[in-house]
């Protein structure tokens, strides 16, 4: 029900008492402004962390062989461990429920020629979905698929920097590339948040690479991502178990830390997640602190306003205002002022973040900003606070006998 008359009465009361309205509005606007700024900066810090970590999938595990440092079961110290396709099948089958994707990898430094341009790059033979592991994003064409593996196709997916180095402005997609003397077709181009280095890789089907370089069943290393449903602790347990099993399979002393190396991002992830959680809590505390300060501010002002208006309220009651009319008038005023000034503070805060955001990157604050639900939530909180803050003194004012109110000066 929209009662124009009531709003007219309220607008008049607000606009004719400017100082009072501005004072209370300022408190709310300032609280929301601070809230927006602090929350935004906090989010910026979080974004920086997330970005640092986005270079590879956060659930990746890498396994690569090394030389043993302990004699075991008749094997000499310093034995070079070599992974094979058998290890790949072993891992894939044994841990199918815990692995999201797994790929063997072969890697060679190769000379790549396109027309007159040439340079050395790292050629990697991998399985499809390897792009997930690297957090690479195919910007043109496609990544390798299972047919490429089966058919041992001579195709490559090249990094953005390879395209830039060799092709300049033109698109590499569909072109033939001479890699180590063999012609490959470029079926895709990718970008990688890991940076220029990661964008100078060239991916080719693992089977193609295995056939051309060595013609055996050797595997350099494995990369995989674990099932994202695993908790971080479960993921760490999983990689330790895998480590043990592989050592057993290759007859390496269980205490030999060097025979096979495993790097699980989950352990790092655990630390960073802990830090992020800490940061979130800090942001939350700061945010709530600011809000509470705002709530206290608006409450104080409401108490003052009602006090100041005691006489006016007494007059209104003497000429026939019911207590309900008094309470609703004061509360609607409070809501209107908090809503408008809260919105003003929000716009100001977002504006400041928008303007200063880019220059804050050197302080590890990336894309500072607040999500709309958070801000709307904060504003609603303040409006509610304004209501509650307005309600108690308004209720009290409405209960003061008009005669007492009229006597007040």
């Amino acid at each position: 029900m929209f009662d124009l008359d009531r709003w007219r009465e309220i607008f008049q009361s607000i606009s004719k008492n400017k100082l009072r309205s501005i004072l209370s509005g300022f408190t709310v606007a300032f609280a929301i402004l601070l809230f927006t700024l602090l929350f935004g900066i906090g989010n910026g810090l979080q974004n920086t962390f997330k970005n640092e970590f986005a270079k590879d999938a956060i659930n990746s595990i890498y396994i690569w062989p090394n030389s043993t440092t302990k004699a075991y079961k008749g094997h000499q110290i310093g034995r070079r461990i070599q992974f094979t396709n058998d290890d790949f099948n072993f891992l894939k089958e044994k841990y199918s429920d815990k692995i999201q994707m797994i790929s063997p990898r072969l890697q060679r430094s190769v000379k790549v020629v396109y027309k007159t341009e040439e340079d050395n790059y790292t050629l990697r033979g991998v399985y499809p979905k390897y792009d997930i592991l690297e957090s690479a994003e195919v910007t043109e064409g496609r990544f390798l698929n299972i047919r490429d593996i089966k058919e041992k196709s001579k195709v490559v997916v090249i990094g953005r920097m390879v395209e830039k180095d060799l092709f300049g402005q033109i698109s590499a997609y569909g072109k033939q590339l001479n890699i180590g003397g063999i012609m490959y077709k470029v079926i895709g181009v990718f970008s990688d948040p890991g940076g220029d280095g990661d964008e100078r890789f060239i991916y080719t089907p693992f089977s193609t690479m295995q056939q051309i370089y060595g013609n055996n069943d050797h595997v350099d290393e494995f990369g995989m991502t674990y099932n994202p449903e695993l908790s971080i602790d479960e993921a760490i347990a999983f990689s330790s178990q895998m480590h043990r099993e592989l050592k057993k399979k290759h007859e390496i002393d269980p205490n030999d830390q060097r025979g096979i190396r495993v790097h699980n991002y989950a352990s790092e992830n655990k630390e960073v997640t802990g830090m992020m959680v800490g940061l979130s809590i800090l942001i939350l505390i700061i945010g709530f602190g600011t809000l509470i300060a705002g709530v206290v501010g608006i409450s104080n002002i409401m108490v003052y306003i009602v006090k100041e208006r005691t006489k006016e309220l007494g007059i209104r009651k003497a000429i026939g205002a019911t207590p309900g009319a008094i309470v609703s008038m004061i509360m609607l005023e409070a809501i209107l002022i908090t809503a408008i000034s809260g919105y003003f503070g929000l716009i100001l805060g977002v504006g400041i973040l928008e303007v200063t955001g880019p220059s804050l990157e050197k302080y590890f604050i990336l894309n500072p900003g607040v999500s709309t639900p958070v801000v709307v939530g904060a504003t609603i909180t303040l409006i509610l606070a304004g209501m509650i803050a307005g309600y108690l003194p308004a209720k009290r004012a409405a209960q003061i006998k008009p005669i007492v109110a009229l006597r007040a000066d």
Binding site: L4, D5, R8, E9, Q12, S13, K16, N17, K311, E312, G314, I315, R316, K317, A318, I319, G320, A321, T322, P323, G324, A325, A398, Q399, K401, P402, I403, L406
Partner: protein, 234 residues
């Protein structure tokens, strides 16, 4: 119109209580112009507050327009005030940020009268108190007498049964006092019951009936010369 029987009122002061009204009996008929006289502390303001439903009584009976006033909550009191009573205060009690017209129209707002209509009615009443030209002035731009006229217009705008005036001339000089009293008399002549509280003999002398109050009891209740004259004239 107003009937009071054995009315008592005490105010608590710390652990003790101050017995202000000690069993008043008063009957004011419709169309009377009554003044309550008494020095400060005699209980006259307390009486007006009770009659005006601004305060409650402890003991006794109070009938307003034939209706027994008891167990009145704030909301009912507000409705009754709005319907039956118009107030004029010593300190005018106009709302400072509203114009004369808006002040007069305010009781109608609480009565639920539409804006356009209530401004029209308010202007009519301002005209009646001779302040039509001052309708859009704020109270601080008006003289004391003008403010009191606005307050009287505000008291009348809801067409109440009784106008209650608490020291209406207390803050005015003698010339303005006379003009305000003339206005009240005029209203009374139109049939309105007017109930004035004062400590000034000259003011009381202009009403038709003077009730003298001392220490919470009525010591005299008599008709004035004016009343007798009018009565004779009739």
């Amino acid at each position: 119109m107003i009937r009071i029987e054995n009315l008592h009122k005490s105010y608590p002061i710390g652990k003790d209580s101050l017995h202000v009204l000690k069993g008043l009996n008063l009957h004011i008929k419709e169309g009377e112009f009554v003044s309550i006289m008494g020095s400060s502390g005699s209980g006259k303001s307390t009486l007006l507050n009770i009659v005006g439903l601004l305060d409650t009584h402890d003991e006794g009976k109070y009938y307003l327009n034939g209706q027994l006033i008891e167990n009145l909550n704030e909301k009912k009191a507000a409705v009754l005030r709005n319907k039956f009573l118009g107030f004029v205060f010593q300190s005018f009690n106009l709302i400072s940020y509203k114009t004369a017209l808006e002040n007069v129209a305010l009781p109608l707002y609480y009565k639920g009268v539409a804006r356009k209509e209530r401004l029209e009615i308010a202007l009519e009443y301002l005209d009646k108190v001779g302040l039509k030209e001052w309708a859009n002035h704020l109270p601080n731009e008006l003289s004391g007498g003008q403010k009191q006229r606005v307050a009287i217009a505000r008291a009348l705008v809801t067409k109440p049964k009784v106008v209650l005036a608490d020291e209406p001339t207390g803050a005015l000089d003698s010339t303005t006092t006379d003009s305000v009293m003339d206005l009240l008399k005029e209203i009374n002549d139109e049939g309105m019951t007017v109930f004035v509280i004062t400590h000034e003999e000259e003011v009381a002398a202009q009403t038709n009936r003077v009730v003298r109050l001392k220490d919470g009891v009525i010591i005299s209740d008599e008709l004035t010369q004016v009343e007798t004259k009018t009565a004779k004239a009739i």
